[in-house]
């Protein structure tokens, strides 16, 4: 063998183009498209209908998004590990009905206790998902499709025709979704705190980074010694807690809770995460993106109404929006890949 030249051929140019400009880094953010779309949407709608950004309008927008934001944050956590949780709508329903029941059966129960019980119930349901996925090692899509049905069935069996109404709950509880601080409704502030905590966990802790590694290549993660089962279980558990929190907040915000509360929410939540740039096969994306996705999807409904767009068009437009989000993300990643190829290409 010939003696080594100072550096291997072919790796010479790598570092030169590698110092990224701040702008470049900003443009590569996966959250960018959804943010731009959101700003554009709000701007256009406000120009046409100034009432859209009235204090009440803003409050409504935030309130509408709050519950989906919390669900999307939890879902992002799960999707990043290359799993998915379709049972969130059912979990939310069960917890929301449980909240209603608590207030009625235990008069004068402190609101904090209700929150804790709701999140605990969510944690339990999430833990069941997590256990089935990690211990039995079966695909999450199947398991959570199963628990979607089972939890919904439990909700139906428990609630029957009973519904609890806003009037059954203390005013202070309902006030959480009415009162504002600096224009932000209280429950929205809760959602923001949740997103910040989860975001910091994902970006800044070793365990959080492990989730990305697991989603990126689960087999490699196992070989590498990352406690895959424990991390994935925790992701499901956390998602359950957040779905539980969302369930309690649902009961605060909306009028009635009963057997069908929250049904059909699962695909909307997954869609929010996807629109926000969370890769459906795990490994990349962020909760901030997912939260933006949730905000965008809920805002579009309000915007279309405010623009007096025929309501029959709304669902179709939501569909187009989801598709555009995926396509934009794809174009962006193809461009990055191409750039990478060009920057590392041989001079031929």
């Amino acid at each position: 063998m010939t003696t080594a030249p100072t550096r291997p051929p072919g790796t010479a140019e790598h570092t030169v183009s590698a110092v990224p400009s701040r702008l470049g880094a900003l443009l590569r953010l996966r959250e960018l498209p959804v943010t731009v779309a959101l700003i554009a949407l709000v701007t256009i709608t406000t120009v046409v209908n100034p009432l859209f950004l009235s204090p009440q309008g803003v409050k409504d927008l935030l309130l509408n998004a709050t519950i989906v934001i919390i669900l999307a944050a939890g879902q992002a956590l799960v999707i990043i590990t290359r799993n998915v949780d379709l049972s969130v709508g059912s979990v939310l329903g069960l917890v929301a009905f449980g909240t209603g029941t608590l207030f009625v059966t235990v008069p004068g129960i402190p609101i904090v206790v209700v929150f804790l019980v709701g999140m605990l119930l969510g944690a339990l349901l999430g833990a069941i998902n997590g256990l089935l996925v990690t211990v039995a090692k079966v695909p999450a899509l199947v398991i959570t499709l199963g628990t979607l049905y089972i939890y919904r069935g439990l909700n139906n069996a428990w609630a029957g025709g009973t519904q609890y109404f806003a009037g059954d709950r203390p005013d202070a509880f309902g006030a959480l979704s009415v009162d504002t601080v600096l224009g932000f409704p209280l429950i929205t502030l809760i959602a923001i705190v949740v997103v910040v905590i989860v975001a910091v966990y994902l970006a800044g802790t070793r365990a959080g980074r492990d989730l990305y590694a697991i989603g990126s290549d689960p087999d490699a993660a196992k070989l590498f010694g990352i406690p895959v089962s424990r991390r994935v279980f925790l992701a499901f558990l956390t998602n359950g807690v957040l779905a539980g929190l969302a369930g309690v907040l649902y009961a605060s915000r909306f009028n009635s809770v009963g057997a069908t509360t929250g049904s059909g929410l699962e695909l909307a939540v997954v869609a929010a995460a996807v629109v926000g740039g969370v890769a459906i096969f795990g490994g990349s994306g962020s909760v901030v993106g997912a939260a933006m996705g949730a905000l965008l999807l809920t805002t579009i409904t309000s915007a279309l109404t405010a623009l007096r767009v025929d309501k029959f068009w709304q669902e179709a437009i939501v569909g187009v929006l989801i598709l555009s989000a995926i396509i934009i993300d794809r174009i962006a990643s193809v461009r990055t890949a191409r750039k990478l190829r060009i920057s590392e290409a041989r001079n031929v």
């Binding site: 051929p9 790796t11 802790t205 010694g225 490994g283 890949a337 031929v348």
Partner: protein, 511 residues
């Protein structure tokens, strides 16, 4: 210096790690029947054996990935029973697996430090510190890879380098490397050796697995031989010869490794003219004739695989033509290539060569889908018969055709790949690193096979990073460097010097 550290002091040094009587079975398959190894501080210990001898299984036991069915395992004199990879890591064992374990979505730096990221303010991960640490590591290894880049799309060689960086950065007292050099070229191998010797000087124990004897003898202090899942013997390197080791591995004598018979050369089968793909390769022109073995040589990353992929239609190309048996081949269509009579044994067996979860039989018959069908309906019996027949001809070692091909050892997997292409009766076969990760016995079989195929009029394009293989097998050698052909050498002209010159030198033609 190695001998010093081995024999210095009074009495034998205590092994860093010792495994004895290890047994590991997967259902009916006993992968490891009697595994023994001890690794001393400050030694590089080679583990050799045929494909399927149980080397990787032993490695995975050391890594804590598999639990022993029976046997004893001591680390630092203490009996241990690892329950997880984390236990093994905590005990100071760091492993580079045979298959790279990078996370494609994470950056290079994060891949190295995952689970041990340096922390900054508030106990959160400091990306800057992590990047800097990665740069320092790469400087130490003498390579330049952008730590900010995602791992997705890295070449196999770069991936392997990152694996090595990852392992050494863990500061382990025992470093286990399962065929780390299989994807590396001479330069990189040499650098890896340097790193290994440095670690040895710091009295780490290293277990090194390779099928290349030149490497084993150049690097290692002791050699342990395994056969059929059993421990055979351990030798101090200076006291044995290659032939003796090979004899122990195979259980018999192995004759000439490269039984090249020069076959009569026929008409041009493949004619590539001015082929180019922006940023990848340019101006590639060559012919391959019936009965001829043409080797495509060069360093890893020279673009040989890319050319082969374009010729076979996996990738598109921007310029030039590929003519097959006189007619122009439709670009970017493997099906067209196969229909015309081409076959392609790719370099990455696990990802490209085989559908790992599919059974041995189905894999073998996968290329015959259309041929075993009549009026569009597959004749299941013919399909099975063909699979059995070709497995038999290539002596694929498997208990059942129904087993997933992933349960076979590397060499047997490679035989399945070859079987599936030979079954199509190709006129032209591309073999990309056909003996990568394959033991001596099988290797010589594969060489014999290639040579025989050529004798029977099949044109062969062989890509290989092993010079002895190129020199032994090829009728003609085409050397590539940085995406261009830098030399075309006849069998007589091809020498290690002329090839290496063309492979490393720049554009002026070496002759």
């Amino acid at each position: 210096m190695q001998t010093e550290s081995l024999h210095a002091g009074d009495g034998p040094p205590r092994p860093r790690l010792a495994l004895s009587g290890a047994v590991k079975a997967f259902g009916p398959v006993v992968a490891l029947a009697d595994g023994n190894i001890d690794i001393l501080p400050g030694e590089i210990h080679a583990l050799v054996g045929e494909n399927g001898a149980g080397k990787s299984t032993l490695v995975k036991i050391l890594a804590g990935l598999y639990r022993l069915d029976a046997g004893e395992f001591h680390v630092g004199g203490q009996s241990v029973s690892f329950r997880s990879v984390a236990d093994s890591k905590a005990a100071g064992i760091s492993v580079i697996y045979q298959e790279p374990t990078l996370f494609p979505d994470l950056t290079v730096a994060e891949n190295i430090f995952i689970g041990r990221q340096p922390k900054g303010r508030l106990g959160l991960i400091s990306r800057a510190a992590m990047r800097q640490a990665a740069r320092d590591l790469f400087d130490q290894l003498g390579v330049r890879i952008d730590p900010n880049r995602v791992a997705e799309g890295l070449s196999i060689a770069d991936q392997q380098i990152i694996e090595i960086a990852k392992a050494i950065s863990q500061g382990a007292t025992v470093l286990v490397m399962d065929e780390p050099t299989a994807a590396l070229s001479g330069v990189e191998v040499e650098r890896l050796f340097q790193v290994a010797r440095n670690l040895r000087a710091q009295s780490a124990g290293i277990l090194f697995i390779s099928h290349r004897f030149d490497e084993v003898f150049a690097l290692c202090d002791r050699i342990t031989v395994m056969r059929d899942g059993r421990y055979i013997a351990t030798h101090v390197t200076s006291t044995v010869t290659v032939d003796a080791i090979v004899h122990e591995m195979v259980g018999r004598d192995v004759g000439a490794l490269f039984p090249k018979v020069v076959a009569p050369v026929g008409d041009t089968v493949l004619s590539v003219k001015g082929l180019g793909r922006a940023g990848v390769f340019a101006d590639v022109t060559f012919d391959v004739r019936a009965g001829e073995v043409v080797a495509l040589a060069g360093l890893v990353g020279a673009g040989r695989t890319e050319v082969a992929r374009a010729v076979f239609g996996i990738d598109p190309y921007d310029r030039g033509t590929v003519e097959f048996a006189g007619t122009r081949l439709r670009p970017h269509s493997p099906k067209a290539a196969i229909d015309a009579g081409m076959g392609f044994v790719p370099e990455d067996r696990r990802k490209q060569g085989l559908v790992m979860n599919l059974s041995v039989g189905r894999n073998t018959a996968l290329t015959l889908r259309d041929r075993v069908a009549r009026f569009g309906i597959i004749n299941g019996r013919a399909e099975r018969a063909a699979a059995v027949e070709w497995s038999r001809r290539l002596q694929v070692k498997t208990t059942s055709q129904e087993y997933a091909v992933s349960t076979l050892s590397g060499g047997n997997q490679q035989k399945v790949v070859l079987a599936k292409w030979l079954a199509t009766d190709p006129k032209f076969l591309i073999v990309d690193e056909p003996t990568r990760g394959i033991d001596v016995g099988t290797k010589s079989e594969v060489h014999r096979l290639i040579s025989d195929l050529a004798n029977r009029g099949i044109a062969i394009l062989m890509i290989s990073s092993e010079l002895p293989e190129v020199l032994g097998m090829a009728d003609r050698v085409i050397v590539m460097h940085e995406g261009r052909i830098t030399a075309e050498l006849s069998r007589a002209e091809a020498t290690p010097e002329s090839i290496m010159h063309a492979a490393t030198a720049s554009l002026e033609r070496a002759q």
